[in-house]
């Protein structure tokens, strides 16, 4: 179970986001909806331990991640969290398999990679360099890399953003299927995909306040 409690995040550009408390139950899939810039990706990054909240805390199975060091959060992320980044975060000069096998550096077993690539329909590209792939193919490589370690938590930031609806739907189905009994939190704009998730969260409702703290205005709702 993931609990987001009293989390605020202030950025260097002086924007501050204050989240309402949210709880994500283990084994359920969540779809986060909301306008661009309302703090969906920031929330995923805070849960993943990539960025730290300015205040508040994220508890995963009762453990306050803010009390852990960056090194411990990194270890937790690589072992327990499968993160599908919006811009893929793949090394362009390396092959599909190498981008997945990079996890071997931390002792993660990636033997399942060929099967996952097969399921995602890009098995024939396994030895191709990332720079030679289309946006949709890169997206599927990023998904395969996130799922290959059989994570407890899957975080997906716009996993269908670069795919047409048909393929996007297929990917979401696979993602949901692969994340069965795990916690899946996916950010997407496409409401048509909401039927595949256990729960849809409108992030516009989950932001308590968003403001430019030195600006003239008060709180701005997403």
């Amino acid at each position: 179970m993931i609990e987001v409690k009293n989390v605020t995040k202030q950025f260097q550009n002086e924007t501050e986001i204050k989240y309402k408390d949210i709880t994500f139950e283990t084994g359920k899939s969540y779809m986060l909806l909301g306008a661009s810039g309302c703090g969906k990706s920031t929330l995923l990054n805070i849960i993943a331990g990539i960025i730290s909240p300015t205040s508040g805390s994220v508890l995963i199975d009762g453990v306050n991640m803010q009390e852990k060091s960056q090194k411990q959060r990194d270890k937790f992320r690589i072992e327990k969290i499968g993160y599908i980044f919006q811009d893929f975060k793949l090394i362009n000069e390396m092959t599909v398999l190498d981008n997945i096998n990079i996890l071997n550096l931390e002792g993660i077993n990636t033997q399942d990679a060929p099967r996952l690539l097969e399921e995602l329909g890009i098995a024939e590209k396994k030895n191709s360099k990332i720079k030679h792939l289309s946006g949709g193919q890169k997206q599927r490589v990023a998904i395969a890399r996130a799922l290959v370690k059989a994570p407890d938590i899957v975080l997906a930031d716009e996993p269908t953003g670069n795919l047409n609806f048909a393929i996007g739907e297929l990917v979401i189905k696979k993602l949901v299927k692969a994340s069965k009994n795990k916690t899946l939190i996916a950010v997407t704009h496409d409401e048509r995909l909401s039927k595949y998730f256990d729960k849809v969260i409108d992030m516009n409702q989950m932001i308590a306040d968003k403001k430019d703290i030195f600006g003239a205005g008060g709180g701005t709702k997403c």
Binding site: I50, S69, K71, I78, F85, I91, E93, L103, L105
Partner: protein
């Protein structure tokens, strides 16, 4: 880790080639300069202590010493053999007297006429020394035999010119082949002094019994000094011809040569040091630029959860492989250059030993290796101090 490091290197071929090239150039030049200067210096001094004095025609001291001990340069001229006879009779002050004459060549290799005693400290690979009571026998140096396919019993014909024209009719039989000594002895044909006189005497003529130099071993340093004073500037007459002698101390002459060479050596060392420093800077800049360009890759790895420790290790392994392979290449290139320089250096009387590695060469190679991985280590250390990923 190693497999991934190699794969990661494979995608950065140009940067890696640039770094490797800089390392090969800097380490190669450093090692080569030190090795050549040391071998030349060691080679020149190694022969100098054998004799108390050298007596020859008047002229350049250096030329007399270099020609007699290292078979380089042209002989200064000739002096009568009667001087050898006189010295040989001086049993009170003299231990040994060795005549030396250099004339002709065999396929470009010098031919020296002398007595067997000249080769007494040299080891034979096969055969025996020539017999002083006979003529037309030769002991050939290791390279002479190797590059001319000479065996014991073969007969060689010497000639006046290096082009092989003007060959003497009388053949000289090979009776011995010297072991490889990595000295100028490897490149010379040795025969009896009488053989040289014989091949140069035309039928019906009486040959002039002359030598180019006389190597003398005195019984003690005092006698050596006496003989030096006695023979230096001495005028002797033979067959109505007048000869002015000079006597030199071999170590003195060699010291003069080395002093001259030292100035050149220092200039070479300074130039090498400048090249080395410039290359170290280039290595550091290229490596730091590579690391800078890898920042995105490093951030990406950090985002997916790979620890800074593993990333550090990955880049240090990568640069370690590049550094290690490059210093091996640098060593190989330096040996290749030594091989190519051998012809030139052998004209100075020193045969370079490709297998000779000085401890300082290892220090240079290890130093360059450390310098090649230092920028990476510093960069990764700085990166790892930053706890935050974003």
């Amino acid at each position: 880790m190693l497999r991934f490091a190699l794969k990661n290197m494979a995608v950065k071929k140009i940067q890696i080639i640039l770094v490797a090239l800089s390392i090969v150039i800097s380490a190669g030049i450093g090692v080569l300069a030190f090795n050549v200067s040391s071998q030349v210096s060691d080679g020149i001094t190694s022969n100098a202590g054998y004799y108390s004095l050298i007596i020859g025609p008047s002229g350049s001291k250096t030329q007399l010493a270099m020609n007699t001990m290292y078979f380089t340069d042209e002989p200064l001229g000739t002096i009568p053999y009667s001087v050898v006879s006189t010295l040989s009779k001086d049993g009170m002050r003299v231990n040994s007297v060795i005549p030396f004459a250099m004339a002709d060549n065999y396929n470009g290799y010098g031919v020296v006429g002398t007595s067997p005693e000249f080769l007494k400290d040299k080891e034979l690979r096969e055969g025996s020394l020539f017999d002083s009571s006979k003529t037309l026998e030769a002991v050939v140096g290791y390279n002479v035999a190797k590059y001319n396919g000479l065996k014991i019993g073969d007969v060689l014909h010497t000639s006046h010119s290096s082009t092989g024209l003007d060959t003497h009719e009388q053949g000289i039989k090979v009776v011995g082949i010297l072991k490889e000594s990595h000295s100028s002895f490897d490149n010379v044909v040795f025969t009896q002094i009488q053989t040289l006189w014989q091949v140069h005497t035309h039928e019906g003529e009486e040959g002039h019994k002359t030598v180019c130099a006389i190597l003398v071993n005195a019984k003690n340093p005092g006698y050596a000094l006496q003989l030096l004073n006695e023979y230096d500037g001495k005028i002797v007459t033979h067959d109505d011809e007048t000869f002015t002698l000079q006597a030199i101390e071999p170590m003195d002459a060699v010291r003069d040569v080395l002093n001259d060479a030292d100035d050149t050596k220092y200039i070479v060392f300074v130039l090498c040091a400048v090249i080395l420093v410039m290359n170290i800077m280039i290595i550091s800049i290229i490596t730091l630029l590579n690391m800078y360009h890898s920042s995105k890759e490093i951030s990406l790895m950090r985002l997916i959860g790979i620890s800074m420790k593993k990333i550090n290790l990955l880049y240090i392994i990568q640069n370690g492989i590049i550094g290690f392979v490059s210093i091996l290449l640098a060593f190989g290139v330096s040996r290749l250059c030594l091989l190519m320089m051998n012809d030139y250096v052998s004209s100075m009387g020193v045969v370079l030993n490709l297998g000779l590695v000085y401890p300082l060469e290892i220090v240079i190679l290890v130093g360059v290796f450390i310098i090649s991985i230092l920028p990476t280590a510093i960069w990764t250390l700085v990166m790892s101090k930053r706890d935050s990923i974003s």
